[in-house]
Chain length 503, copies 2
């Protein structure tokens, strides 16, 4: 019987049955987003967009607290700008939207055709280092003009061949910070400061534990000196790169000619950084917490904390139950910090409750005549599935703690999953075995994070990518940093790094 029950899930297939399809179904069931008729571009629906809005609000506050201001730069980048930085063009020319005309005219067959060709083609920004660098070169003359600490909220386009809602789309929304400094040290400090902002945000708001680290040469941003990242583990044990912060050295300031007269009267190139997170975070949020019944949301980012469901068995009860629910809603929301809503739609109770389960609302409260007469509420937690009757007074006074408990529980659960699937591996054989699916019934869920010594040879990375689709996710900034021996080359290794499969 228990077994029978366990099989009934709101999402089909389950994570174990088909993880990628489960993800698509969770997104669909929660009405978060859908594919559009424009190749690779998604439509972010209201429930999904409100998650991004909540993330934006918190991040924007953190950027401002750390001294940054927002600005806005052009969507288009002249092709000649892209050419200025050799690695950068290599990285982005392969997949970009190219604007070549500025008008449409009716062709011989009555169809609209591109007309008025541009003198120089433009690309839709895949990232804005080059166009922002050009502006900074105009703004910066003296060390007094530095630092520049600017962030931009924008859309960007990368013409990805294989797309997946939130995780990889041709167009996505993001923020990109671009800063310029007088010294290398200051720019390096900024790079790490913003990495920490991302790490704290992921942990404290998304309840998504991340490992902060540095990318290897082969995995870094095209044009960067050093790329730092936060890496999270999803429930298929793959890594999701959730945010990056780049120390760009003087590469882009040389490409864009961002020069300044130093305090000692010498012309110098500025030191720049860039850092970004995107709507991919929404994908990470979904995959970190959701279960086979759909989306599970951490309270700090949930559009709605509590949904009140009136249970009406007869028309004569309706007025009384709705009135009670409405008063409860008012009481709960009066503090201003809890987002609550009564769902009084005239649909079946089961359908209604399951709708909110699939949408991930942290707490559901059912109110029927019996509850009213005992002044109690039937309270259901989305994260644990726990359901119990609680006195109204107790619920209201304990609600803030309950939300905090849910937030904490989600983080603890995600940490446990990550830690349970992170192992130290010291031989090539164990490494290959770890990353090879064993159970043909759930081929998608296997492996995890391998903490393995690595001598840094790019050939090893190429081989592992080819053999196992495994890459170095990052060289962690913290944790055990004792040296050892690389199992792939036998050469000395400075410390263990994180290997994993990734999105």
């Amino acid at each position: 019987m228990a077994n029978e029950k366990a099989k009934r899930t709101a999402i089909t297939p389950t994570r174990e049955q088909d993880y990628p399809e489960w993800y698509q179904q969770v997104v669909k069931a929660a009405d978060l987003a859908e594919t559009s008729p424009v190749r690779g571009c998604m439509v972010i629906k209201p429930w999904g967009y409100s998650l991004w809005e909540n993330m934006q609000k918190v991040l924007d506050g953190k950027f401002k607290e750390t001294g940054h201001v927002n600005a806005y730069f052009p969507l288009f980048i002249p092709v000649s700008y892209l050419e200025k930085e050799a690695e950068h063009v290599e990285g982005f020319a392969k997949e970009c939207a190219v604007v070549t005309h500025s008008r449409l005219e009716v062709g011989p067959d009555g169809k609209l055709l591109p007309a008025s060709p541009l003198e120089e083609p433009l690309i839709v920004r895949p990232t804005s280092e080059t166009i922002i660098g050009e502006m900074y070169s105009r703004w910066v003359q003296s060390y007094r003009d530095l630092p520049i600490l600017v962030n931009q909220w924008a859309n960007v386009v990368r013409w990805e061949m294989r797309t997946r809602l939130f995780l990889r789309t041709a167009e996505f929304l993001w923020q990109e910070g671009h800063t310029a400094h007088a010294t290398e040290n200051e720019a390096r400090e900024e790079t790490i400061r913003m990495l920490k902002v991302y790490e704290d945000f992921a942990r404290d708001y998304m309840a998504m534990p991340v490992i902060s680290g540095k990318k290897t040469e082969g995995e870094k941003f095209p044009g960067a000196v050093d790329t730092y990242c936060i890496e999270a583990m999803m429930q298929d044990r793959k890594a999701l790169q959730a945010g990056t912060s780049h120390f760009l050295g003087q590469n882009f300031s040389k490409a864009s000619n961002i020069k300044f007269l130093s305090e000692s009267g010498v012309q110098e190139y500025a030191w720049t950084t860039s850092w970004g997170v995107s709507t991919r975070l929404v994908g990470g949020l979904i995959m970190t917490h959701s279960d086979d019944d759909g989306l599970v949301l951490p309270p700090k980012l949930a559009p709605l904390h509590v949904v009140i469901l009136p249970i009406i068995h007869s028309d004569s009860d309706r007025g009384k139950v709705l009135e009670y629910c409405s008063a409860l809603e008012k009481e709960i929301s009066s503090g201003g910090s809890v987002r609550v809503q009564v769902d009084s739609r005239d649909i079946r109770g089961g359908e209604k409750a399951w709708g909110w389960i699939k949408k991930g609302v942290p707490i559901r409260v059912e109110v029927g005549m019996r509850d009213i007469s005992s002044d109690s509420l039937f309270v259901c937690r989305r994260d644990t599935g726990e359901k119990k009757s609680v006195s109204r007074a107790e619920f209201v006074s304990g609600l803030s703690d309950l939300l905090g408990d849910i937030q904490g529980n989600l983080l603890k659960r995600a940490e446990k999953y990550r830690n349970d699937n992170t192992v130290e591996i010291d031989t090539k054989e164990d490494f290959y075995s770890f990353f090879t699916p064993k159970n043909s019934k759930k081929p998608e869920i296997h492996g995890g994070f391998a903490l393995t010594h690595f001598s840094g040879d790019p050939e090893v990375e190429d081989t592992l990518r080819k053999d196992l689709k495994v890459t170095v996710r990052c060289i962690p900034l913290e944790g055990d940093d004792s040296p050892g021996v690389c199992p792939f080359t036998g050469k000395p290794s400075r410390r263990r790094v994180i290997f994993g499969k990734s999105y």
Copy 2:
């Protein structure tokens, strides 16, 4: 002597000398925006962007209060979508950015060339009725799915030939609301509701009085049944269309096939609306209030309400003055509603004060040793230029009222200017004379709003546009609606309409 003094202005030229150039110089002096190397695209600098952010915050709140939610739709629109609505394509095909390729490759001369042509070209959205309509046709099946009340914050591109910072740029930022309803009546109510939201926002936050009205057939949005607008008068007496709200009837639902099963079981087309305001509002804000010393900001949208300027005459005073200023800043900001900052940069006092004058900060407070000893402050109002010594306690306790007074004064001043330059005109001769420059020394500033009867003939509009560059700005929704005779045709007129030159 007074005359001498009046000639010294921070902005050259003055409004009277050369209004368009004055505008550019105000934008530059306040560091609001600048042109970019990408044709027609501007860079919105931090001070300018924070004005847009403050506008967004208020408007977004008002949209949510009126039941709307945010979502996000693709940047690109397939050309075939644009073709679905005949007037719409006519309106937007003439100037749009066309994406034709998805890759760049190195050509024979070593330069990057477009590669991988798309099967169907895409245009960068100039507005999103067609792509959003396509999605709504998927989402709407039954009357239960209606209304859809969605807004999008986004960038759009219209390949304008002559651009002007904020007022007319190839790329601009805006919001576009798109709603679908089961009945004509509901859609019409929505159209007017959002027009009123814009009207209230312009008046209550921007301190910019506007006239709400309906566009004539010739001036309406391509594809709309009715276009409503808010029109404001700038200080060169030209009209700025500051926001529009369109009743689209069933035009776009027929083009996109947004059909639903009605409550009575009949397949019907939905009734849709769209409405938008853009970064053009920032241009309107600048031109409504600024003077020959630069930007003047209404407190409700100012990034900073009060700037505290320490006056330091000797190094021995420095510590004491800065400490006093810092305590004052803390006291002022403690309530949470006043945005205040101490400017302790080590530059000349005059340069510093003028910098903030040009940036439009409502209140400057100068603090020197003499002020400290008398516990008083030297307070300067940006809007009136009034400067006086006030006791610290009086200033702090009266600050909120002072900001309210400034906000009110700006609105009153703008209303007076608009009313002074709005005249009833009843003959063709007077009309032509009104819109013809008389003073060759200030050719840009003449005319105003002419309240004139109009029979509605499109030929008259064509002639006036050709002869005088004058158009019907709107048929006002309020004010004197008594009928009369059209001075251009002698035919009967339902009511006076607003004629004007425009941006």
